[in-house]
Symmetry: D2
């Protein structure tokens, strides 16, 4: 199980949903960066459960504690260990999943892979592992900000409700519980989510993240393309089933004369490429979209299989997000931030 | 420039479009596998230029030579070096791109990154680098076949012409120059491609690859998810702008009750997940789709920028594929094969 | 700062001497291994300070707490996070080293590298970082034991007192505070160490580690030779200045006819090679020796430099080991165990 | 078989002794470095066989050909592929080793590991693999020279003949076939080597390498210590059985008051540490010594084992170096250069 990500700026996450704690070790962080638990808490609060009516009622304060690597308020270059204790744990609802594989979850595949499975709250496969990613990215973002780089995500689509290009208003994102970049669409999305919640069902969506002021030249042109590393980073988030850069799947219907971004003395005249050419950042905005599947946990009877190989039925009760997008926004942002941070260091090595 | 891919089964590609040769070193190949140049040639022939009217007329035989790692017809465990000499080179058409950045190409970003650029035939950023990938994957595929694993790709879409689920006929793929899995749609696609070629333009598309008989349990659940590694692998192909696993972006509009794959004693009852759950293979077919952008080289006047910072116009002449899909099919297959091969070895380490 | 070691069995250590805690995350541990805190404590107790008159009086219980990766007493395949709180901290003695570089220590080089330095107890450069290594290796050793592999270290030499080949008695090692494999030499060594302690000085030595029953075939023949990875692993222990495999530096004076290990139907007839041929284990005992420098902290006046660039004098007071060998024994063992564990998994991938 | 070394400046070697060619791919080389085949040839000529009476008579010109990564005389940032064709091949003498394991060689362990073995000239385990290392290091050295860093090696000891500290004269090294840093000792060494050659035997030695002007701050303090990476790099050379930094094994007999390097306003007052403190370069000379075993191939009857498991006798005939030191000098230099080059880039990433 490779729980380490990145080449120079590297994180290693650990912890299970209903274990003692979840955490992350960040190695390769540049020294002399001001860092406090507040910096990390700010991002964890955006991801934490229980923040609104459209998220799970599991109520976790997700309090970050820095265990190492910071001295007198500054990073020292040593690995930064961050820990978040698990507090609001109730494993009782999971007792029955000892023997039954929840559809859409990793229960079956963990069992096949390891022959053993921590069934409490989904164990290691729980989205709670993302706490470490978001905490690590909070550090990366502090450094990226110094370079003028900002990373902003929002819910672009929920079900069939999609924010059109001309509706996007970044100022709205943190004002609504869906993290939609449009107050009008946010209302529609919220309504849809609450309706599905009432039905015991869930709904998918699309999260879009834009990175601004990324300098030209980041990314390695063969395998470690900036776009390829972003694709891996974002696809490594449990619920993501698709990833696009720039025009993404729309290129299938485009001609070269439509898709090429012409240049001029003032720079590029369009950004179909989404800020990456030949795997290397062009200096334009990097635009990433992730397809987020509907939450697998639903209060509806489903057919399944028992560990002993028998047909069975189950209904998943517990505390779930009816739509994963609102809390996925900071996670997709985090993964994009981590990739850019790593490539920023990699590129510095050659300058 | 990280030209190495994979953890246990690793390849390192090298070479430029108009340099002496292109090649690959495959390290970590299991010993005692029968291997000859014919095994590699077979796959290179599917990717080579000049194979049909819808591909570039550059006529490269792409003859693979094994330089090391094979003894008396078998792999020894030592690194396998494979070389393909560049033969049909004509750099004269590229002279003018010394000073002008071709839109849609990596000219501008290479210049920003390295301050130097081999402009002959696109240099390192040329699709010719893929020769090494396909050659390495030819070895992987021989081993995968022994495990009963087969990997098949086809052109799913060109422009607006899309093969519907019920039209897919794998037997048709290698019978038409587009590598479409439908003879009817293949004809329409070919017509569209030739029309755009006549206009000096190009067209995008979608390539789909299916891996069959992949055992359950491959993939590492945190960052090195099978799906995440596939996403990186496929997105590292120059022309790919989007990647999907299973239902991909369609999940955005789905409910959990639609998207979950129920189980029974006979196995899964559907495959919306595309064969990967929680980043681990489930034993079902792994289904991957890649959005392929239209060829950037077009015989149309485009605005651009000169190295000295001036507005300019250019028309790209040379020998191009009007649609990249037909030759991208074996490349996407190759990248999927390489990831599965690597994870097969990784999983064996723990059994 | 790369705090991660290993390819398949990987550990990441974190923590400073006088910070909140030290710890380690072990990733890639096979599932279904019985594991409790007792398994880890056993090894930490052999390394912990304050265990005898020849070690530092800093009195740390070094209580290991498993934070993740173990479920119902077994490993799950998930990363295992282990934490040891720092308890007996007294940073007051270190206040003066804020401004003065201790000779023999990493104060000067950390300052040059990072421009910032956690001076409390040596911070990250303290031998306390080894807690994580020993904890991780305790897990590896449980697995190696299942394969019949045992790893035993002892103090071979302290100052000029050296245990001769024919004096080695493994049964004596844990019976004396020096961990010498000879009760007679142990007494002499202890006397010498206590004498130097009384003088405020310290003394170097040699630690020898033998790995038994390592199967033939481990190690990768080019760069990741078993011997090369062991060399790195052992040299990464702060106090080690030299490393030998088998006859080591004695080969300089040997002829080929003396150094070659002949073979017969009963196996090898000698073991000058120390169990590694061409970087691959031969099935014989693997024999490793490490040169351990005298403790840098001494109660003697030394010339040094201040941070502001001035000549200065200092005497290092605090709580030190007068000889590092007794506590280095479990650490060298740990590093050898970790390398063998990693290569065992790597080799399994190809079988 | 991991044939790749380095993190940012990475090389991958390939090729067997009696195969078509040996080669290397260097990835991560900074762009815009002037580079020609002459730069590489210069170093290969120092390692090539047949250069003097004390080396093997196999007569290989070892002509380096650059296959990629250089454009108009400068590196482009793309992988640099270098190939050397094998020319003076005579496998007939090796026919009998198909069935017999040569003592001291890797025949037995390769067979155990892979179940197959290219017995021609030692195949992959031949020292000929070092051609790729030396070629890659020739590039690194050009870059290091720009930083004022020079790396010089010499034969310090052959058999019992050792050059004392006060006898070292760097100007003599390339003037004698032994590469000894003393003309007087060179003569004695040469005589000893020729005597053993006449006897059909071989002799071991010690190679010492010094790196000058390495800036303070290189090396990562936990596992990737500069000293640890050097230890691995040097121990990965086939014939090396021991490695020392600075005082090396002499520290075993030293007191802290003798071993510590005091500091003053003018810098360090001694260099017992060999230029590395806490794993980080101190700005002093980095001093490395490697124990080189006597050549395993000797013209003397030895007991051995056949593949079919029977007692046997063999005498190794062919063309061998009676002492490996003279040709090992450029190889140890190469490995030290590669490590410093890699860490130079790594450190730049954080500045």
């Amino acid at each position: 199980m490779t729980s380490t990500f990145g080449n120079l700026f590297r994180l290693t996450t650990w912890g299970e949903s209903h274990g003692k704690a979840v955490g992350v070790v960040v190695d390769g962080c540049p020294p002399n960066i001001e860092l406090s638990e507040k910096d990390i808490q700010k991002e964890l609060d955006r991801r934490r459960p229980g923040q609104s009516s459209v998220t799970t009622p599991r109520n976790e304060p997700d309090r970050a504690e820095i265990m190492s690597g910071v001295f007198e308020g500054r990073t020292t270059g040593a690995p930064i260990s961050i820990m978040v204790m698990n507090e609001d744990i109730d494993s009782s609802k999971y007792e029955k999943f000892k023997e039954l594989y929840r559809p859409g979850h990793a229960d079956y595949t963990y069992e096949k892979k390891y022959g053993i499975r921590d069934w409490r709250g989904g164990g290691r496969s729980s989205a709670r592992e993302q706490v470490g990613r978001v905490a690590a990215a909070a550090i990366a973002r502090k450094i990226l900000e110094k370079h003028g780089i900002s990373i902003t995500g929002f819910t672009r689509q929920v079900g069939k409700i999609r924010i059109e290009e001309n509706e996007i208003d970044y100022g709205e994102i943190e004002k609504n519980p869906v993290r939609a970049a449009s107050s009008k669409k946010a209302g529609e999305m919220e309504k849809l989510i609450l309706q599905l919640k009432a039905e015991g069902d869930s709904i998918g969506g699309v999260v879009e993240v834009t990175a601004k002021n990324v300098p030209a030249g980041l990314g390695e042109p063969t395998f470690d393309k900036l776009s390829a590393d972003i694709a891996k980073a974002v696809m490594s988030i449990g619920a993501v089933k698709g990833i696009e850069i720039g025009d993404g799947f729309r290129v299938a219907e485009m001609k070269g004369s439509e898709s090429n971004d012409e240049l001029s003395e003032r720079g590029f005249l369009s950004n179909h490429a989404g800020g990456v050419l030949g795997g290397i950042s062009s200096g334009q905005e990097i635009i990433v979209r992730a397809a987020i599947k509907p939450t697998s946990s639903i209060r509806k009877e489903q057919k399944t299989l028992s560990r002993s190989g028998r047909d069975a039925k189950l209904m998943v009760e517990g505390r779930f997000d009816p739509c994963l997008c609102p809390r996925a926004v900071p996670v997709v942002e985090a993964m994009v931030a981590l990739v850019i941070m790593d490539h920023l260091l990699r590129q510095k090595a050659y300058e």
